[in-house]
Symmetry: C2
Subunit: 191 residues, 2 copies
């Protein structure tokens, strides 16, 4: 891991967690993975992240066991990046930060809201469904809804368009940015 | 805010949350604030953080409305840094990251565990009390317990010693590192 040596003397589960996901792009990459993004080119199109940074971050998250690579094409080799069980375990804190940001760091209504797919009720602050008295809705049971709000920027990339319709988290958005549109020699999937 | 311009095109509550708490020291400072740390010198003693970085981070968290300054001495002026309501709202994702780190990023048992103070039951993964069927225990109702584990480093600073005994979150540890032991011209409380 490139990060974390500053925290070496902090014997704390949070410090260890931050070694994996504390780098500022990592949580946005993982957010996209929950939205269904799996491919290098799709992350690139959606995140405005420099290619080299995306390459490094995907490799680090894979090495840390939060994402795993699944080949979807042999020649040339191309990979999906899929959340592992450890990665799926990040849903509660990720949802918590999303809700906190919507509550305290964003003015007005949030663009995206998360609902229990089965009943349509918006998740509560801690990711449960108050209607069904569920303490925690697993990400595969969560529906994301996106609204266009006046005065708020709307991205024009194809991944943003693909996730604009209500859809279940984790449902793969395969190659929304076009097959191999962005894959290249610096896709760590190729190495 | 010094952070966040890279995220400007991400219309997302998470991106906004990360502008406030995504910098890698910020969540460790906030963790300490939940543990009861309030004073510049105590954060400094416990975090191995460079003075200048701590000064910048405390100022940024105060400006963002997550911490507020409360004078505890007039001459020279000295301040406690106290969690605001917005700061207290970070407990669910912070606890989630702590639990995730303990589950997936730390080998062996976690050093610190969090319990419902009223009944002693360890909080579940999402910060609730399974014994009392509480979906969420507010931080003031949480007791932190610290264990010394074989082969794990034990810090010798006075703040670590002060939080080693079981205690409620948020209960102030005033000046554990000694009155004014570390306060100085670069304590933003002095400006």
């Amino acid at each position: 891991m490139a990060l974390g040596t500053d925290y070496a003397r902090q014997d704390c589960s949070l410090a260890r967690a931050l070694e994996v996901v504390g780098e500022r792009w990592s949580l946005l990459i993982l957010r996209d993975a929950f939205y269904g993004v799996r491919r290098f080119g799709d992350f690139l199109a959606h995140l405005d992240i420099p290619r080299a940074v995306l390459t490094t971050r995907l490799a680090a998250l894979t090495e840390a066991g939060v994402l795993r690579k699944e080949a979807y094409q042999q020649s040339p080799p191309r990979y999906d990046y899929v959340l592992t069980d450890a990665g799926l375990g990040l849903w509660p804190p990720l949802h918590g930060l999303l809700r906190w940001g919507g509550e305290y760091a964003v003015e007005g209504e949030p663009t995206r809201t998360f609902h229990h797919a089965e009943c349509g009720t918006r998740l509560d602050m801690t990711g449960g469904c108050p209607h069904c008295a569920l303490a925690q809705v697993p990400p595969a049971g969560v529906e994301m809804r996106t609204r266009v709000l006046p005065g708020r920027p709307v991205r024009s990339d194809p991944v943003t368009a693909a996730i604009a319709a209500p859809h279940r988290l984790l449902r793969p958005l395969r190659g929304a940015a076009g097959e191999d549109a962005f894959a290249g020699a610096d896709d760590p999937g190729n190495s």
